[in-house]
Symmetry: C2
Subunit: 697 residues, 2 copies
């Protein structure tokens, strides 16, 4: 037996346990915070030094724009995906000027169009406030009290920070609430559309090609951030790589991955698989069906529904991939083995309590009211949702912050207000169809006698109720919404808008459910997860990355093709491949070429790379993330994962799972040779704007 | 309750049972004989009339050349796959003139090169001899006697037919021995190589792309059949279609599918899955490994081993697909349900006996000696195999036909002699490596004390034994083999060739095993299968197609893309797609373009179709089959299945399973625009040979 001091023995034990726990994670996994970047792993695997300078530059150039984006010129030019910019593009479109199907290229600064409701922000700095939060919580004697104390401590930290810096401040929690960090953001509300290719070029192959590689999508858009009416000076921006990437090259992805559930317990995963996801799958399928039926009414209806349909089909296909992963016996067996090892290490360390059992109890509560929690609401983010938000905001904000529903703490209010006020077009026919679908679903799930069903239908059919509610509502007028927002509780209670009246009736039910969820489900789970998180820290430190939480993250990996069950899949595609795919389907939709590509076809160089794949670990929210090389220069733009990567919500693998990117050369090449947007190509290259060679923008 | 006469009731019952039995076979399944073509099914599904005239033309134009082929000009020009012609191409190649890697185009008739050992034949007519065979068998009182009587009746029918017609005659059995048909063939031994593209163009993508679609293979070759030193006049040949096919078009495939096991019982399938296939998989993997290691020695070694390596990897990948199908719980459940229904119908009809139980007993015998049956032999079709065939032929042919091993009945002898005498190059280094591998495998399976292992190794290592046996053998000289063949038993017994001496020692073991297999396994299974076949006939008639048996068959289906687990797969590929695939792999092997394609690249029309897929039901042996349209004109050339179709040995499906073909336009286009072989393009078009535009053939 070897001899060691108690501390050294504990270290050895921890190291051994760590090796066992991450035995299945042998490769490029993890979405790492900038506070705890994987410097050693990257050095060891790729021989690349992640210097503080490079990390700082990447952080300052990374933009949160709903999903991810980045500054790519010194004048605030911002690169993201077409599908991230799509709601702006749609909102700027009209029946007469359809920027979605026709694309858009601003010929000059004056033609750059402001996006309604858009907001861009950069994470300027962070600080660890774990001690402050935990200290505040420690004074509590019940779960409810601790929950209130935590919320109040967080709100206090956020408002003090905002007051002293003039920045937007948010406390984020990591490792299931084991760490609390204060994030400080610089924000801009003036974001303008500069360039978008046609939808058919950006989303080539449509739903069939979504989550598929080989892929041929020009899924990019250019926006510009303005400050005081002028392009913002973005000193920290990414430079375009001179040298194209090659297979095997290390790459880094910077962005805002939304949510992973890799640290959830087995019981939680089984509940997602057996109870929650089937509800969501059925809902997504029903929504897809109703949006398709609506789109079939006319080309104009199809235009109106496009963004929603894209979002729904994307959600559905992604969820099907996740569902397949959870149904995969091997994956669940791996999770089971991981948990058994963690439990054994937890017990061996003599840690108290049984957080797994606490989570099991709370999860069972969730399952018991899953249908209500899913169906009682303001209908598929429809016009009714504006009513619901107006009502909730009015009643919640008049209460002390600690008593409010968590979603309405002060720091969250500006974003809610901005969404309510955003003057995006609302199509009443579409609203009727969507609200009817939502009411139908609720009735199916809850049954006629349920108070929510009684309140929403009032004896009518879902279709009749939706018709009545939507047609007579004035909430499609942004000014009417702004007036209700300004008028507070008084205005809400005086309103006879049918959707506001219904929202008032639904609000108590929603509040009871939200409270139930907060107190009976989320808080106990959070507290148990906190104990698991602390145990994890005790055992492994921050050698394991935290789950994704929509905060800024760094992933790393390499450019690599793969074997898709016997089908050798290359690391990249080319413009020639795009033309060939269109030809091989005889140009039939959704494999037809966008008009600009048809026009440019004869002059295109078929060898120019179009899309490529990497092993970097990403998830929804990373859309629009820049891919950079080992010098921090941008070489691509993340826009998707392949189907094999959809299990990434629960576990990272790299045999077949890949993140998909638009090649930087494809973007510059398309701007010049397909769209004649030389001004922008020059700006991306960091050249002074010269005369356009053919008079095009 | 409905009322019907006993006969009508029986018919109703049979029809109902039939519908149930084929409930899973809703689509284009079946490899049908020309005696019983699926006229009604094709009429009903595709509105196409399979007229006797069209069927007759297809039959007369279809050629058996090892696998499948067809006459495509009036002057005996024969189209088949490059991989079917590969052994001829390799045998005509030398180190200095490598037709495999460089391709070959005969500039004139004089440059057409005779294939060693090649044989082409056309099925001229058939007749039903079931009554004669069954009548002869009926006189037997034991299984052994019945077996001998069947063999003797078949031999008699074959020799009388040959005597009266001058044709080659063979009795083939269908529906597991329920029907016996006499097939009459016109045969030609003078087959010459006319055109072959480079191996890299024919087998583009190599093993990774094998059994994969989308695919980009120019897998065709042209041969010419000669008679009396002149091109044969092939009045019945396929005409090139004027009009290209489109997605959804009905098509027909004519060829020689080797073997399906769709009518085997569940026990047989489980034995294949659990006992036989694991042996074969391990053997194939070992052979692949040794051939790869041999190929790594030098480019010349790689050239020598190429044909074997191709065959082995092809076999291995196909077997893996079959194995996966047998491991598929859904497929086995379907088989189980089908068998349960058939058993119930069998019992309901009051049919006697339990053929399933008889098959189970015989199958268990097979499993009990599976290792010996697999490993005791003359080594991987190597040089040792020539010795084994010489020894067996000498000893077997001196016995009365009824006493011989089944493989040595008179009708089979010419083909065996032809293979022994064929003057194909034999590389001793390669032979040593392969024989050593075979001896290694036998020792591992059987153990050192087994008589076969003792005889073959004689105390040495497999490598030493192979070295000693092969180096001193003279059987690589075709003349030496011919002399032994001519000398019969006397010459064999006088020979001191080490391989002949060893073969003499092994022969009694092989004979005992062959007898065991014939009497204890094959005959009882055949007889039980016969009873099942007769029951099937009683219940369903010939509405179900028979299993494939390498005889001429007709399949039908349509041109159709498919959804490969979320990946939309088009019905065709193009030359542009080929270039794009090469580019997307940066031109790395095996995705590099063949030299002729590199040279022609700039002038190629990327939209010309290259490969396409159909739902027609095929299996190994269909390689080289023409695909014809509803007018019987050729539109493509079968060369592969996709991975999803490899379960076709056991069950036909059409959701993802596809047969792969080279498009007829690709063949003519490549001849003209890549290889400058205008003479041949004109001949395929049925035009008189004109002056070649650039002096090329």
């Amino acid at each position: 037996m070897s001899r060691c001091s108690p501390v050294a023995c504990a270290r050895t034990l921890a190291a051994a346990a760590f090796v066992t726990l991450i035995a299945s994670a042998v490769a490029d996994d993890g979405m790492w915070t900038f506070d705890n970047p994987p410097v050693d792993l990257v050095k060891q695997r790729y021989g690349v030094a992640l210097t503080p300078d490079m990390l700082g530059r990447l952080q300052q150039a990374a933009v949160n724009y709903g999903a991810s984006a980045s500054f790519v010129s010194k004048s605030g030019l911002m690169l993201t995906n077409h599908h991230v910019a799509l709601s702006c593009i749609e909102q700027l479109s009209t029946r007469e000027r359809d920027l979605t199907s026709k694309g858009y290229a601003a010929r000059s600064s004056a033609q750059e169009l402001r996006c309604p409701g858009g907001m861009a922000r950069v994470l300027t700095s962070t600080g660890d406030v774990t001690a402050t939060v935990l200290q505040a919580v420690a004074a509590g004697t019940s779960d409810e009290q601790r929950n209130a104390l935590r919320k109040s401590a967080i709100a206090d930290l956020e408002s003090r920070c905002a007051g002293s810096t003039g920045l937007h401040c948010e406390v984020v929690s990591l490792y299931s609430g084991s760490l609390f960090h204060l994030y400080r953001f610089k924000e801009w509300e003036d974001v303008r559309l500069v360039f978008a290719p046609e939808y058919q070029a950006a989303f080539y192959g449509g739903d069939p090609d979504n989550f598929v590689f080989p892929r041929f999508a020009l899924d990019f858009a250019l926006l510009r951030v303005y400050e005081n009416g002028k392009p913002v000076q973005s000193a920290q921006h990414l430079k375009l790589a001179d040298k194209p990437i090659a297979e095997g090259d290390p790459v880094f992805v910077v962005g805002h991955p939304g949510k992973t559930d890799r640290l959830q317990t087995l019981v939680q995963l089984k509940t997602i698989r057996d109870t929650l996801m089937p509800l969501q799958l059925a809902s997504a399928q029903a929504q897809q069906a109703l949006l398709r039926a609506y789109s079939d009414r006319s080309p104009e209806a199809a235009r109106q529904a496009l963004d929603r349909l894209f979002g729904t089909e994307n959600w559905l296909k992604a969820m099907r991939g996740e569902y397949a992963a959870l149904k995969d016996a091997a994956l669940m067996a791996q999770k089971e083995a991981d948990e058994a090892r963690f439990r054994a290490a937890y017990a061996a360390r003599g840690l108290k309590g049984d957080p797994w059992a606490d989570i099991e109890v709370a999860t069972a509560r969730h399952a018991s009211r899953a249908k209500e929690l899913w169906a009682v609401g303001y209908g598929y983010h429809s016009l009714f949702d504006h009513a619901g938000k107006l009502v909730e905001l009015a009643y919640e904000r008049v209460q002390p912050e600690a008593k409010r529903l968590a979603a309405y703490r002060d720091a969250a209010l500006p974003a809610i207000e901005r969404r309510i006020k955003a003057d995006a077009p609302i199509y009443k026919d579409l609203e009727v169809a969507r609200l009817a679908g939502s009411l139908r679903e609720a009735r199916e799930l809850l049954g006629d006698p349920h108070p929510y069903v009684k309140a929403t239908l009032a004896g009518a059919t879902p279709e009749e109720a939706a018709e009545r509610l939507v047609r007579r509502s004035r909430l499609d007028d942004a000014a009417a919404r702004a007036a209700l927002l300004a008028g507070g509780v008084k205005a809400i209670e005086a309103s006879d808008d049918p959707l506001i009246r219904l929202a008032r009736e639904v609000y108590p039910m929603r509040r009871e459910l939200a409270r139930f969820r907060e107190e009976q489900i989320d808080t106990p789970i959070q507290q148990a997860a906190e104990r698991l998180g602390q145990a994890r820290f005790t055992l492994y430190g921050s050698a394991l990355p935290p789950d994704a939480t929509s905060t800024l993250r760094l992933s790393y990996g390499k450019v690599a093709g793969y074997d898709a069950n016997g089908n050798a899949t290359p690391w990249k595609t080319t413009f020639g491949g795009l033309l060939a795919r269109a030809d091989s389907f005889d140009g039939k939709a959704p494999f037809d070429l966008a008009p600009s590509l048809v026009k440019a076809r004869a002059q295109l160089n078929p060898r120019v790379p179009l899309n490529f794949v990497t092993t970097a670990d990403i998830i929804g929210g990373n859309s629009g993330s820049p891919v950079v090389n080992s010098r921090g220069e941008w070489v691509g733009l993340i826009f998707d994962s392949n189907l094999e990567a959809l299990g990434a919500r629960f576990v990272y693998t790299d045999a077949q799972a890949r993140s998909l990117a638009v090649h930087s050369q494809a973007i510059v090449y398309a701007l010049e040779h397909v769209y004649g947007a030389h001004r922008l190509a020059q700006e991306l290259r960091g050249q002074a704007a010269g005369r356009s060679s053919n008079g095009m923008p």
